[in-house]
C-alpha cells in the first residue's frame, strides 16, 4: 500500500518543518526543499519578501479582507473559524497584515503560465532597441548628424535580426515560423506584430546596408552602387522610422491581450512603458556612438523616454492593487527597481556630462541596461501573477461580489453550518 515514491518522504519533511517552525515565522522558509521547481522557488521568494514588507500589500487587498475573512471564517466553522476570529479580534501578537483570502484547488494555478521563455523578454528589448535606433537614425539623417544616423541604422539592423532569431527560436515548431504569414488578424497582436516586423525589417536592413556606401570604391560598377545607395538608404530609413513606433508599442498589446492577470490589467500602461523604454535605449545608442557635439537630440530623447518609462512603471506598480504586487516582489521587483535606478542614473549622466564622451558613453550603457531590466521585470512579473491562483481568484471574486451587491442579490454561498 505504501508507495515507495518520493511523495511520502517529501510530505514528512514538510510536516516536520511545519512542526519545527515557530509562530512568528513570516511565510515559507528559505530552507524549502531544493527539489522544488523554478516556479515554486520564485514564488517562494516572493512570499518571503511579502512577509518582510507587510505594508507593501495593496490597499485593495486590505479593504477586501474584511468581507472575505468574515465569510471564510464563518464558513470554515468549528475550531478553525473560532481561532481566526480570536486572532482577528486583536490579540496583540498578530501584527502582520494577513493576505487576502481565497479558495483554490489544492493551491494549484488556475491559468497556464506563459510558455514563452526568456527569449521573448529579450525580444521585447531588442524590438524596442531597433525601433528607438531607427527613430534616432532618421532624425540624424534629416538634421545632418551622420554619426547618429550611422549608429542608429547599424544598431537597428543588428537588433531586428536578433529579434527574428529570438522569436523563431521560441516557437514550439521553429521550422513553421512562416505559418504566421498565412493570415492577418487584427484580434491577434502577434499576427499584427508579424506584419509590422515584415514591413520594418527589410527597410531597416536596406538602410543599414546603404551605410556601406562610404567604403565602396569611387569608380566602376561598385562606384555606381556607391552613388545609388545613399538615396535608397534615405527612403528606407524613413520607412523604417515610420513603422518603428508601431513596432515599439504593439508589444504592450501583445502582453496585455492575455489572461495573465498582471499583464492584462496593465493594458493602459504597457505600451507607454515600452515606448519610453524604446526611446531610452535608442538614445543610449546615440550617446554611446556619437561625439558630444552631435548627441544633443539623443540626450533629449533619453529624457523623454525615461519620463514615459518611469511614469508607466510607477502606475503599474501602484495602480493595480493586488495585481501590482508581482511587480514589486521577488525577482521582478528587483529587476524593476534596478531598472529605475539605472534609468535615473543614465538620464542624470546624459544631462550633466554633456561635454564628456566617457560620461556620455556610460550614460548610454546605463540606459540600455535599464531597458533590458525593465523588460525582464515586466515579463517575469506577469509570469509570476499567472502562477499563483491568488491573482486569478481574488480580483475575480471581488468583481462577483461587487456585482452581487450592486444588484442587491442574496449571496449564493452556502450558509454556514450550525455546529
Amino acid at each position: 500500500m505504501t508507495p515507495p515514491g518520493p511523495v511520502g518522504d517529501r510530505f514528512r519533511r514538510f510536516r516536520e518543518r511545519l512542526a519545527a517552525e515557530g509562530d512568528d515565522r513570516p511565510q515559507v522558509s528559505d530552507d524549502r526543499p531544493s527539489a522544488t521547481s523554478g516556479a515554486a522557488a520564485t514564488s517562494g521568494e516572493e512570499f518571503a519578501s511579502g512577509g518582510d514588507h507587510p505594508s507593501d500589500r495593496g490597499t485593495a487587498a486590505s479593504s477586501r479582507r474584511g468581507d472575505l475573512t468574515a465569510r471564510r471564517s464563518t464558513e470554515a466553522g468549528g475550531r478553525q473559524g473560532r481561532r481566526r476570529r480570536r486572532r482577528g479580534g486583536g490579540g496583540g501578537e498578530e501584527l502582520r497584515v494577513p493576505e487576502a483570502e481565497f479558495t483554490s484547488y489544492y493551491g494549484r494555478p488556475i491559468l497556464k503560465g506563459p510558455v514563452w521563455k526568456w527569449d521573448i523578454a529579450a525580444y521585447l528589448f531588442t524590438g524596442g532597441l531597433a525601433a528607438g535606433s531607427s527613430l534616432l537614425a532618421a532624425g540624424g539623417q534629416l538634421t545632418g548628424r551622420p554619426a547618429l544616423r550611422r549608429a542608429g541604422r547599424v544598431t537597428a539592423l543588428a537588433a531586428v535580426s536578433a529579434s527574428a532569431v529570438f522569436l523563431v527560436k521560441d516557437l514550439g515548431r521553429p521550422a513553421r515560423f512562416h505559418h504566421m504569414l498565412r493570415v492577418a488578424k487584427p484580434t491577434s497582436p502577434m499576427s499584427m506584430g508579424t506584419w509590422i516586423l515584415t514591413a520594418y525589417g527589410p527597410a531597416a536592413g536596406v538602410a543599414a546596408i546603404a551605410e556601406a556606401a562610404g567604403v565602396l570604391p569611387r569608380h566602376g560598377l561598385l562606384g555606381l552602387a556607391g552613388r545609388a545607395l545613399p538615396p535608397i538608404g534615405h527612403v528606407a530609413g524613413l520607412l523604417a522610422a515610420g513603422t518603428a513606433p508601431a513596432l515599439a508599442t504593439y508589444t504592450g498589446v501583445l502582453l496585455a491581450d492575455t489572461a495573465v492577470p498582471s499583464w492584462h490589467e496593465a493594458y493602459p500602461e504597457l505600451p507607454v512603458i515600452f515606448a519610453g523604454s524604446a526611446l531610452a535605449s535608442g538614445a543610449g545608442v546615440g550617446l554611446l556612438a556619437a561625439p558630444p557635439a552631435q548627441a544633443g537630440p539623443a540626450r533629449r530623447m533619453a529624457v523623454a523616454g525615461a519620463a514615459l518609462e518611469l511614469y508607466g512603471a510607477h502606475r503599474v506598480e501602484t495602480r493595480l492593487g493586488l495585481l501590482s504586487e508581482p511587480y514589486r516582489l521577488g525577482r521582478p521587483g528587483r529587476l524593476l527597481r534596478a531598472g529605475r535606478l539605472l534609468t535615473a542614473g543614465g538620464v542624470a549622466g546624459a544631462l550633466l556630462g554633456r561635454r564628456s564622451r566617457v560620461v556620455g558613453a556610460l550614460s548610454g550603457t546605463a540606459l540600455l541596461a535599464a531597458s533590458v531590466l525593465t523588460r525582464f521585470g515586466i515579463f517575469y512579473g506577469g509570469v509570476a501573477s499567472a502562477r499563483d491562483p491568488r491573482y486569478t481568484v481574488v480580483p475575480q471574486r471581488e468583481r462577483v461580489e461587487a456585482r452581487r451587491i450592486g444588484m442587491d442579490l442574496p449571496s449564493d454561498r452556502a450558509v454556514p453550518p450550525t455546529v
Binding site: 514538510f14 471564510r72 483554490s104 516557437l171 492584462h264
Partner: protein, 370 residues
C-alpha cells in the same frame, strides 16, 4: 459583411458569426457534477479515441486526482475535492465527535512539494507549499501561521496515522476509529475545454490554426500550429497547453471527427452516470436549469450552474457545469472574461503611445540648441 457588434464580447451564436451558413445547432457538454462518481472513464475514453499520449504515472498525493489539471495530454480531468468541511447546508456528519486535522489538508501541503511535473512540460507548475497550505483546513490565507501556532495540532498531525501518499481505501474514520474521524466532503468534477462563445485562444492565434467549427466548438489544426504559445497565455481557464517534445498546442476537440459522423463524443459516451451529457446547447441549458431546480427542491441549495449564461464574461461556454460549491474550489476561475473584450482599448492605447514616441523624437531633434 460587417462583423457583429458582439463579435468580441456579449451574447452571440458563434458559428454564423464565423461565417457558416445554415450551421447546425451549437453542440456542447453539460457536466452534472452532482452525479459524478469519479471513475475517470471519461479521461480514459478521451485518450483512447483521440490517441492522446500517456501522461506518465504520477502519484500527486493530494487526493484521488493524479491527473492534476487539464494539459496537452489530458483533455478531460476529474477533480476530487476532499476537505474537512460539510457540503452546504447540511449538519456536519460528525458534529460533536472529536475530529482530527484533515487528511486532505495535510496531503494538499504534501502534494505542493512534489517536483514532478504533471502531464506535460511546460504543463502545470506544481503549486507552492504556501499556496497549498492556504487551502488546507478550509482556506485561511496564512495557514502556516495557524498550524505552527497550534502545537497541539502540529503534534497531533505528527502522531496521527502514517501518511501513505494517497488516501486510504476505507472511508474516513472507519479504519482509525471515531477519534480520528473528520467531517469530510468529497466532490468530483470532470473538467474539459469550455469551447467559449468568445474564445480568447481562437482570437489571438496568429496562424489561423485554431478555428471555429460549424458546431460552434473550437478546434486546433495540428498541421498548422507552430507552437507560438499565445493561446496558452490567453485562455482564461488554463485549458490549452503546449505538449512537451512536440511543441504544439493541444486541447479537447469536442471529438470533432465523431460529431461530423453524428456520434456522441467519447467521454460522454463512456460516462456511466450521465454526468457528462452531450447535445444541442439550448436543450442542455433547459435540462440543466431543470436539474438545478430539482436539486434545490431536494435540499441541495448549494447546487449552481457555471458557464451557462450567455451574458457572462466569455459569452457563455459550450461546455458548462453544475457545481456544488464555488467555482474556485474546483480550480475554475470565478468570473472569467475574454481578454479580447478590451482589445480595441488596448490598440487605442498603443496608438497613443506610438504617437507620443514619434512626437518625442521630433521634439528631440527640432527643439534644442546642440
Amino acid at each position: 459583411m460587417l462583423p457583429d457588434p458582439n463579435s468580441l464580447y456579449g451574447p452571440l451564436d458563434p458559428a454564423p458569426d464565423a461565417g457558416y451558413e445554415n450551421a447546425p445547432p451549437r453542440m456542447g457538454f453539460f457536466t452534472d457534477t452532482s452525479v459524478c462518481i469519479g471513475c475517470k472513464a471519461c479521461e480514459v475514453a478521451c485518450k483512447e479515441w483521440n490517441g492522446v499520449p500517456e501522461s506518465g504515472l504520477d502519484l500527486l498525493g493530494m487526493s484521488y486526482d493524479n491527473t492534476g489539471a487539464l494539459t496537452a495530454n489530458s483533455w478531460r480531468h476529474v477533480a476530487f475535492i476532499e476537505q474537512p468541511r460539510p457540503a452546504g447546508h447540511r449538519t456536519p456528519p460528525f458534529a460533536g465527535t472529536p475530529t482530527d486535522g484533515s487528511v486532505s489538508a495535510a496531503s494538499a501541503a504534501g502534494a505542493a512539494g512534489t517536483s514532478e511535473r504533471t502531464g506535460t512540460d511546460p504543463g502545470v507548475p506544481t503549486g507552492t507549499p504556501s499556496a497549498a497550505a492556504r487551502m488546507a483546513g478550509g482556506g485561511p490565507a496564512d495557514v502556516l501561521g495557524p498550524i505552527a501556532a497550534d502545537p497541539t495540532a502540529a503534534g497531533r498531525g505528527a502522531a496521527g496515522p502514517q501518511f501513505l501518499g494517497m488516501p486510504g481505501a476505507q472511508p474516513p474514520g472507519r479504519g482509525t476509529g471515531v477519534e480520528e474521524r473528520t467531517d469530510f466532503r468529497w466532490l468530483m468534477m470532470s473538467d474539459v475545454c469550455k469551447h467559449c462563445t468568445h474564445a480568447a485562444c481562437l482570437d489571438v492565434c496568429p496562424t489561423g490554426s485554431l478555428f471555429r467549427t460549424e458546431f460552434g466548438t473550437v478546434v486546433v489544426q495540428e498541421d498548422i500550429c507552430n507552437g507560438c504559445g499565445y493561446c496558452i497565455s490567453a485562455c482564461p481557464y488554463g485549458v490549452i497547453d503546449q505538449r512537451k517534445d512536440d511543441g504544439r498546442a493541444w486541447k479537447c476537440t469536442l471529438c470533432y471527427d465523431r460529431l461530423g459522423a453524428g456520434m456522441t463524443p467519447a467521454c460522454a459516451q463512456a460516462c456511466p452516470t450521465e454526468s457528462i451529457q452531450y447535445g444541442p446547447l439550448d436543450e442542455l441549458r433547459e435540462r440543466a436549469a431543470a436539474r438545478v431546480a430539482t436539486l434545490h427542491e431536494r435540499g441541495v441549495p448549494e447546487a449552481r450552474l457555471y458557464g451557462h449564461d450567455p451574458n457572462d464574461g466569455v459569452g457563455g461556454d459550450g461546455a458548462f457545469f453544475l457545481l456544488l460549491d464555488e467555482p474556485e474550489v474546483y480550480g475554475l476561475p470565478p468570473d472569467p472574461v475574454v481578454t479580447t473584450r478590451d482589445l480595441p482599448k488596448m490598440w487605442k492605447r498603443a496608438g497613443l503611445a506610438a504617437l507620443a514616441m514619434a512626437a518625442a523624437t521630433v521634439a528631440a531633434f527640432v527643439g534644442g540648441s546642440s
